[in-house]
Symmetry: C2
Subunit: 542 residues, 2 copies
């Protein structure tokens, strides 16, 4: 230690401890070691039907926080201070991008109207219920100074479904409809939230006229279209560049690097332009998997597929570990410790509001959505509605980041009300992630035992876990080759293309084939250059 301190003064060569804070090196070491631990334990618990990776990480995080709390004798429980920048700039983009990259596009776009309805109107309904509920309950409770802005913020914080949590408990292969509805909703509601907050600032909420509502709808439309367009543009640009320049000729790594950087650039550009970065990077992922991914070399395809998934996996684990370790931070709990009953009451009320707020839009909107569907196969039956309601209840790191932003800025944690709101948010996040998360998996299996199978058969994915055997095919077939309901034995692409059931999809496909693919590449539309790396001789074990 002493020599380390001296070294910090005088040794500049190659030693991080010389150039950076010694404690930050220690923190990184502990954190990376914990991440490794989470991965190993998560692997060992894989067979367990209750635990999920996220809960493992959360529990390990809380335990570590407790150990640190004890060893530092109650001084500190966290080794990193929760940083919203770290969350929004570095952890969230890879997670959402990968979700877009791996999403089953067919399923997603087929349910697009329902998803948009849930994400836009649903979030609004939930927001109003939670906000009004918070005003009704907390005004009477004497929990410090909270103004109307704070109550509206509470509504926004607790009405947004956490996309990261959703990814953790729902399986795209097992329950594709559920996954695309709940996850899609969580992506769309990011845009809603941005519009909502802008609206709160500009409008007088007490006197809402038709004009204001129109303005709100226009704002949402503008934000939604711009974000989507930016993401699609980023994806198409990468596809065009990689196809035109034929990057893979010289270096596989350059293709992969360009895809990563273009996706990230689209996210950051959206944030710069005050658009919804989540929506942008999600659509960038979709476009990249449809065009760019087919333009790169064979090894780049394997690499991107797994590298993006790995990045996303590390970010998710990191996030839950982080939230877990941050939960026990002693400073926030100081104010609460003198009135534990009040804190528990606040948390319970918030949980209740979340439950009611979500129920208030899932069931009515499902009913509306069902009215538009002709065939009974496409309708959302009651059991499915229950799982949609339940699976979207979790609140996660997004809520914590927003709570910090609203209640902890410029040293206001010292205020009693703010401290209570932050600890309550953490309690709700921990409880909902662990309890709702634990129950979701078994619930889905219990409520939708035959539906899961039924859904997977109508959703164009064969029910065998073929991902184990041919990981490369999965993305292709799952997303583009469709096994029709009308003729379940149809297997040739020609037949599928000649008789599609959905007319929108039919016209899109025609447009795609006639204009988009020749320019941007995509499956079967990449000309093989002379001397191009074929890369098809991937050998087995030698």
């Amino acid at each position: 230690m002493a020599s380390g301190l001296v070294a910090q003064q005088l040794v500049p060569l190659g030693v991080v401890s010389a150039t950076s804070d010694h404690t930050s090196v220690v923190s990184i070491n502990i954190f990376v070691a914990l991440l490794c631990g989470c991965i190993v334990i998560g692997h060992l618990l894989e067979e367990n039907r209750w635990m999920s990776e996220s809960i493992t990480a959360l529990v390990i995080g809380v335990c570590t926080g407790f150990v640190i709390l004890v060893t530092t004798k109650g001084k500190s429980s966290h080794i990193f201070v929760f940083s919203e920048d770290l969350f929004f700039i570095y952890l969230l983009p890879p997670i959402i991008f990968n979700a877009g990259f791996q999403v089953k596009k067919k399923q997603f776009f087929r349910n697009f109207m329902t998803i948009a309805l849930f994400g836009a109107v649903g979030t609004l309904i939930s927001f109003f219920i939670v906000s009004l509920g918070a005003i009704a309950f907390f005004r009477k409770m004497d929990i410090g100074s909270l103004d109307v802005g704070d109550f509206l913020a509470i509504g926004a914080i607790f009405s947004a479904t956490d996309s990261v949590c959703t990814l953790q408990v729902l399986n795209q292969d097992e329950t594709p409809l559920l996954y695309s509805l709940v996850f899609g909703e969580s992506v769309v509601n990011d845009a809603t939230s941005v519009v909502l907050f802008n609206a709160i600032q500009n409008f007088d909420l007490v006197h809402i006229g038709a004009n204001d509502i129109l303005k709100f709808v226009a704002n949402f439309g503008y934000l939604f279209l711009c974000s989507t367009f930016l993401g699609a543009f980023g994806g198409l640009l990468s596809a065009y560049m990689i196809k035109k320049l034929y990057m893979g000729r010289h270096s596989t790594d350059r293709e992969v690097a360009l895809m990563i950087l273009m996706a990230y650039l689209s996210y950051m550009l959206a944030e710069l332009l005050n658009l919804s970065g989540i929506l942008t990077v999600f659509f960038c992922g979709i476009v990249m998997s449809h065009y760019t991914w087919h333009n790169v070399t064979e090894s780049s395809r394997v690499t991107t597929k797994h590298a993006f998934a790995t990045l996303s996996f590390i970010s998710e684990t990191f996030l839950f570990l982080y939230v877990g370790m941050d939960a026990l931070d002693i400073e926030k709990w100081k104010f609460v410790s003198d009135s534990p009953g009040k804190s528990i009451a606040v948390s319970s009320i918030l949980l209740g509001l979340v439950l009611v707020g979500r129920a208030a839009f899932v069931f009515p909107l499902s009913f509306i959505s069902n009215l538009t569907k002709k065939s009974p196969d496409e309708r959302i039956v009651f059991k499915q509605q229950v799982t949609i309601w339940w699976a979207g209840l979790m609140r996660g790191a997004v809520s914590i980041a927003l709570a910090y932003n609203q209640f902890a800025r410029s040293g206001h944690t010292q205020l009693r009300g703010n401290a209570i709101m932050i600890t309550s948010t953490i309690s709700v996040v921990l409880f909902s992630t662990v309890v709702f998360g634990l129950i979701t998996k078994p619930l889905v299996r219990f409520v939708l035992p035959h539906n899961a199978k039924h859904l997977s058969s109508i959703s164009s994915e064969p029910s065998t876990p073929k991902s184990l055997h041919s990981p490369l095919l999965e993305n292709d077939e799952g997303s583009e080759v469709e096994v029709q309901e009308v003729m379940p034995r149809a297997s040739s692409l020609r037949m599928l293309l000649s008789k599609p059931t959905h007319t929108v999809h039919y016209y899109w496909r025609k447009f795609d084939n006639a204009f988009m693919r020749p320019v941007f590449g995509g499956r079967g539309f990449v000309p093989s250059f002379p001397g191009s790396p074929t890369d098809q001789s991937l050998p087995g074990q030698p």
Copy 2:
């Protein structure tokens, strides 16, 4: 802009600009866009025999810095402040790890004694010459207050070959001997530098006794062995875990994540223990490519191979761009502007000392190394010595980071001497990277036209660029299957194993096969579990 500022105050949802500094979002956008530009331009210039990726990035960085300088009217030229933490904690580890992961192990270990000689003794010789030269020249020049510690630091800063630059100009496939000698040297001299600086603190340099020299040698041995052991341990642990737990059964991503995290953990642990992180992560990469890489699934192999290379590629490009943009920082040049002649003189003297200091050890040590070699084929001929001397002359980001650490800490940049030293370091780095870097590629081709071929034939690599056709095989064969000089037609593994030429390697191979591989896996030693993912059906273009 105005709405953006308002948003920063009140909009917390999903918008980075709300949670972070608006300028930092702008900076990230510019930087990522520039990175994309570097990749595309680097691709277009690939055929050019003079330019390398690093020089492209450096030039783009300087140009951007100039543009920013002009647009901000001379106020600022950089969008990020150069941070040693960013460099040592995030950018350097992936570069060095990838170098270890992709290094041709056979070639590296065959020349290990020469590499260690260059890296340990050579760095010392260069250090003394540069330090003494700096004292001799700069004392007379009136360039502000520099004490003995500063002069010794100058010696250390300019005696270390930059491993990142070396990677950029030397090609492992074209000139394997040169690559392994110069790059290996740059890895080993990191350990030397750490020991050197500790020694400077503890010893009285004017009265060096035999005892002190012994102590120094012992210190170096301790540091070298500990760092190597830690790296090997990290690699073996990852191999053992992945083999025992059979990670790939559930998730490919978990394997990849564990490899990345374990490698990073070994680096950070080395830094924590005041060892040489570069040496550690380099050996961790070697061990991982020998054992762990063979224990993972087929897709993980493709993924890790390319993902590590991509990470390293992005880090390198980032680094050179960063150095280029930082070079024009106006603050540093303020003090120098009144005496430009002096700054040029200091830079020229430093460059001269670097040239002399390197010559002073490359030629004598090559002579000593040649004495120990029996066959003339293995000796380093004069032409090769010249290229070794030249190829290691570049000074890069490591030098800049060290110069900042020594001369810019706690606000001392305001001192005239310190400002001159920093600007001189930047000048030397820019000049040596661009000029020496530009000349190295043609020089190697000019000086070693037949040697390049000769070397590649004795170095066990076929001279065809087979990496283009079978990227997966490259790592295997290049590093482990040896085409013997004695019988050039030998192609079966059995023959190779039964008649090795090098006895150390023979015993290592026996030990490896008998004890290491059964425990840690490795090629041909991974049992196939029932139901394991075979992943061999990687399809071509559909």
